[in-house]
């Protein structure tokens, strides 16, 4: 249908949908006065039973750990999907950078950017691992730290030229790291069954709450997830960069 008919048709159905939203949301408890036994139990047991001070990580990696397993494989599948979709098919010239605009010299990276990027590189990696490792103590965890870690190769790209990034962050190596991170989650779950518990049951000694080794297997899952997420995001960004950056290379 034409654009105008579609907009009119949409506005009518959007009004009806707004009515549905109103009916649905009017039945909700007033903002701030909701109550959930589930939440109260989790807040009560996350430190005494699991020595995990961050209740959200307790829910994410222990009580509802199977959801996070599904979530990690969503990321794993979409990274595979992006690599598959952006692969170079037969009818494309392999190196398509010979047709870049003639006479337009790509400006070299200014020294200021290069220095700052280099200065920032090491702290970013340390900060990323700090967030990953302290997942069960303070806000953060495998996912957030992983994304911060995936910004490290970009800093490298900022301060150098593209081959350095490809050299330092070889896609082949990262793909293996990412797959190992994802598989690691299942291996830990299987190990729990081998140790005599149910899948993903926290059987390891729980350590002292608030320390890095607290929470039994949660730190290990965090490491696996951090490895996978940092690998996954770096791959996605490299795939986007790689196609783009032939020009800058030469």
């Amino acid at each position: 249908m034409t654009r105008r008919i579609r907009l009119k048709f949409f506005l009518v159905s959007a009004a009806a949908l707004a009515l549905c939203f109103f009916w649905g949301y009017a039945g909700l408890p007033a903002f701030g006065h909701g109550s959930s036994i589930y939440a109260d139990i989790v807040n009560a047991i996350s430190v005494p039973q699991r020595h995990i001070t961050d209740a959200v990580t307790a829910v994410n990696f222990d009580i509802r750990g199977f959801d996070t397993l599904g979530e990690e494989f969503i990321l794993f599948t979409s990274v595979l999907g992006v690599i598959l979709l952006m692969r170079r098919t037969k009818d494309e010239p392999a190196g398509d950078h010979e047709d870049k605009a003639p006479g337009r010299k790509v400006p070299p990276v200014s020294d200021a950017v290069r220095v700052i990027a280099l200065l920032l590189l090491a702290p970013t990696i340390v900060f990323g691992w700090y967030i990953v490792v302290h997942g069960q103590v303070t806000p953060g965890g495998g996912f957030q730290g992983g994304v911060i870690l995936s910004s490290a190769p970009l800093l490298l790209y900022l301060c150098g030229s593209y081959p350095k990034v490809r050299g330092a962050a070889a896609p082949r190596l990262i793909e293996i790291a990412e797959a190992l991170g994802a598989a690691g989650y299942i291996v830990i779950g299987g190990a729990c069954v081998a140790l005599g518990g149910m899948f993903l049951e926290n059987l390891l000694p729980l350590g002292k709450a608030g320390t890095l080794t607290s929470g039994g297997m949660v730190p290990f899952i965090n490491l696996g997830v951090g490895l996978e997420v940092s690998g996954g995001f770096t791959l996605i960004l490299l795939v986007y960069l790689e196609e783009l950056m032939e020009e800058k290379e030469s």
């Binding site: 903002f31 589930y38 939440a39 005494p48 209740a55 959200v56 952006m86 303070t138």
Partner: protein
Amino acid sequence: MSYLPYAVAAWLFLVGLYGVISSRNLVHLIICVGVIQSSSYVLLLAIGYRTGAAAPIFVDIPVGTPAVDPVVQALMLTDVVVEVTVVALLLALAIQVHKRHGTLNPDELRKLKG
């Protein structure tokens, strides 16, 4: 104030849908899908909030203090991951559509008529 967050959630959903319907550029359409997703953040957040409650991090506060709902925050974390992955896939599709069709305007993509 007691129903403002829910109204904002409903508004974001409808605005995002309008953006998807009326979009003339696939990348703009994908970002509008991201706006629809953010309406579910606002809804889940409003459901989990308790007035006068602290964050569910018991590092410096004793365990018994009233805290916000951690289960909803775990759902939102999964939601953020889902958003990033879906947008990454959709952007890859949009790039390939542009490479094959030369245009990003859904009106001109008449490939699958009928």
